[in-house]
């Protein structure tokens, strides 16, 4: 039970990377199907649909970032890995926003990308506007990322 703190914190890091990665892979995969459909009929639209397909991929990167910061803060990547159970719980809680929001926003951003790929298929000149719709979903992934970073970087200074 002495190591419960580090176990909980590591679980949090894994959760953030896992869930956000799952959301991104789902979103990029779904958008990729639509992108492939449009490219089959009109290969000249490849570059535009590729950008729309890539948009839901950011959540996976944010999840990785959170996992990385957590691992470095708790000493797994070097330094003192002796942290209390309370701190471990806090690290786990700090990883939840990125994990959960990353999963759901990645998935839904993928669906918005699919719809936007439909716009590009019919009106390629409206690519700029088509980008805005899936990009709006990104806002919430960024908010979750900020909350997770603020929490993780502040926990180390707490005296518990």
């Amino acid at each position: 039970m002495d190591n419960l703190g580090i176990v909980l914190a590591a679980l949090g890091a894994a959760f953030a990377a896992l869930m956000a990665g799952m959301g991104s892979s789902n979103g990029v995969g779904t958008a990729g199907m639509a992108a492939a459909g449009v490219t089959t009929e009109d290969p000249s639209k490849f570059a535009k649909v590729l950008i729309l397909q890539a948009l839901p991929g950011t959540q996976g990167i944010y999840g990785l970032l959170i996992a990385f910061i957590t691992l470095s803060q708790i000493g797994i990547l070097g330094g003192d890995s002796n942290i209390s159970v309370a701190k471990g719980c806090l690290y786990l809680a700090a990883c939840l926003p990125m994990g959960l929001v990353g999963y759901f926003s990645g998935k839904h951003q993928g669906r918005a990308s699919v719809a936007s790929i439909g716009i590009v298929a019919k009106r390629p000149e409206q690519f700029g506007k088509a980008m805005v719709f899936p990009a709006m979903v990104e806002t919430y992934a960024i908010l979750a990322l900020l909350v997770s970073i603020l929490m993780i970087t502040s926990i180390g200074g707490l005296n518990i």
Binding site: A34, A35, A36, G37, V38, T40, K45, G118, A121, K122
Partner: protein, 322 residues
């Protein structure tokens, strides 16, 4: 995951929708000086395969192209069976008549159906209706017996037409797809109204109407029969109380105007699917849109071939999906 299975197909359809004929192209066709020029314009637009086809071949090639595309997009074409039962029952009519006259008649079968025309023909010829699918057996036997013993082709057609509508209606409901259910409903409604009008004009009795009409959700069959037994005005009065009140004006104009109204209603109902990216409905809508444009091109080409006035052709052209 099931929600994502049509994403690729719908995206391809979105790109394909750009090749659908729009009103501007129909204006171009209308402005063409001759029938040949129309065929040339269609060929330039990518219609046909060789550029040498006759009008009928051209339309048939285009229909084949649509189904070939659907074959590429979905692994199981049976999801579109609602559109194909019509062809099966047409083939059943053809088979019964061919067996009845005992002569080989070329090109009377439609190739796209849920079952091969040869199976239908063999079933009728051998009087072995067990070869046919469940929804066809009873009507095939009844229609065959009527044709064989009374020679009444009209009654034979009535029996098969009713079974066609019943099958389309029931099978569409089984799919649970909103578009297919609406399509089946509108098909039954259009047929019932046509039966009421034509039956009234030819003085048909209650028994005929009850036998020919099919139940549906948006029309009261008994009230429509009552109206059809009274006079045409009674039919219009009854329809004015339903959601099909708009149809009355076109019905008063002509049968062609009513048929156009029915086709336009289907197109109006499928237009919102241009914004659906995930279900199979946009694929079904594309099939209907293609059928609609093929029908319009057929009308336009026959008009041009017979030197009919532009106004006469134009008032028969359907609303386009794009």
């Amino acid at each position: 995951m099931a929600d994502d299975q049509f994403v690729y197909a719908v995206a391809r359809i979105r790109a394909k929708e750009l090749t659908l004929l729009d009103n501007a192209f129909f204006d171009q066709l209308m402005a063409a000086k001759s029938y040949k020029e129309c065929l040339q314009l269609l060929s330039d637009k990518g219609w046909g395969r060789t550029g040498e086809e006759s009008a009928e071949e051209l339309l048939s090639v285009e229909r084949e192209k649509t189904w070939d595309l659907m074959g590429e997009l979905v692994s199981d074409l049976s999801i579109f069976n609602t559109f194909l039962y019509d062809n099966d029952f047409h083939n059943l009519k053809a088979a019964i008549k061919q067996v009845y006259v005992g002569e080989e008649v070329p090109n009377i079968y439609i190739s796209r159906g849920t079952i091969q025309p040869e199976i239908i023909y063999n079933g009728v010829k051998q009087h072995d209706f067990s070869l046919l699918p469940e929804h066809m057996k009873a009507c095939a036997e009844e229609a065959y017996q009527v044709q064989l013993h009374t020679g009444d082709s009209q009654l034979c057609d009535v029996i098969i037409d009713r079974a066609t509508l019943e099958t389309i209606y029931a099978k569409a409901k089984e799919t649970g797809n909103e578009l297919l259910i609406k399509y089946a409903e509108l098909k039954v409604v259009a047929a019932d109204i046509m039966i009421a009008i034509r039956g009234n004009r030819t003085g048909k009795g209650k028994e005929f109407f009850a036998r020919a009409m099919v139940d549906c959700a948006s029309l009261d069959k008994n009230r429509l029969i009552e109206a059809a037994l009274t006079d045409e005005e009674a039919i219009y009065d009854y329809l004015s109380t339903t959601i099909y009140a708009d149809a009355v004006l076109s019905m008063k104009e002509s049968s062609a105007a009513f048929e156009k109204w029915c086709d336009n209603l289907i197109i109006k109902n499928i237009k919102p699917l241009k914004y659906d990216s995930f279900s199979m409905s946009p694929l079904a809508a594309f099939i209907l849109a293609r059928e609609n444009e093929i029908k319009s091109v057929r009308i336009l080409l026959s008009g041009k071939l017979n030197n009919l006035p532009d106004e006469f052709i134009r008032e028969r052209l359907r609303e386009m999906y794009v």
